[in-house]
């Protein structure tokens, strides 16, 4: 277990949890954009992607 945080804004355990959340949300968003035959709300997908980016910026990436 690495004790040192990658980006120095949060303890590693918190940082890791945040990355896990990003991974889960990315997985969900990817499923939406990868079903090209269903009419998902494009605006929601775009909002999800922006949220993922905001979460990364929050970590300090």
């Amino acid at each position: 277990m690495i004790e040192k945080s990658l980006f120095g804004k949060f303890p590693i355990s918190v940082e890791k949890k945040k990355f896990e959340d990003i991974l889960e949300k990315t997985s969900q968003t990817y499923s939406y954009i990868a079903y090209p035959f269903l009419l998902f709300n494009r605006e929601n997908i775009i909002a999800d992607m922006k949220d993922i980016k905001a979460k990364m910026e929050d970590i300090g990436v």
């Binding site: 980006f7 991974l23 079903y35 090209p36 997908i45 775009i46 992607m49 993922i52 980016k53």
Partner: protein, 142 residues
């Protein structure tokens, strides 16, 4: 606790694998996947609902979400972002995820090597993967 973390990792991994195999739409497999989906929609309504698909099915225009890349390039780049984020998470704390399945089936070989790397190297690798992941989002235009 360890088992729960491992199960969570397993779920993420399995979903990732399923997405990779079934839903990456390339110009080559587009028609095949479209055919597969059409055969789903031909199922009786009740059965269709069991797949939790929306009742109204329409075709999403194959348009890029952010307009910086083509539809296919954007999907591929987002997939790479997904891959790099997975690498980041697994490189931060690999020992909890070194299950047999992940070691032998994870598509990125580097990932299964992470447990062999010195802690500082893993830290560096995780950080670079995270930075690269973000760069991919920027590339898409998010």
């Amino acid at each position: 606790m360890e088992k729960e973390k491992h199960r969570k990792a397993q779920r993420i991994y399995e979903k990732f694998q399923a997405d990779a195999k079934r839903y990456i739409i390339t110009k080559k497999n587009e028609r095949r996947i479209e055919g597969l989906f059409m055969s789903w929609t031909a199922k009786p309504r009740l059965e269709l609902e069991s797949y939790q698909l929306p009742k109204k099915i329409e075709f999403l225009p194959k348009q890029s979400l952010f307009g910086k890349m083509s539809y296919f390039e954007e999907q591929a780049t987002f997939y790479k972002f997904f891959d790099r984020i997975a690498q980041t998470v697994f490189a931060i704390e690999p020992l909890q995820y070194v299950g047999e399945t992940i070691i032998f089936h994870w598509p990125v070989r580097k990932l299964s090597d992470t447990k062999l790397l010195h802690e500082e190297s893993r830290l560096k690798m995780a950080k670079l993967a995270a930075i690269d992941a973000k760069a991919k989002l920027v590339e898409i235009g998010v």
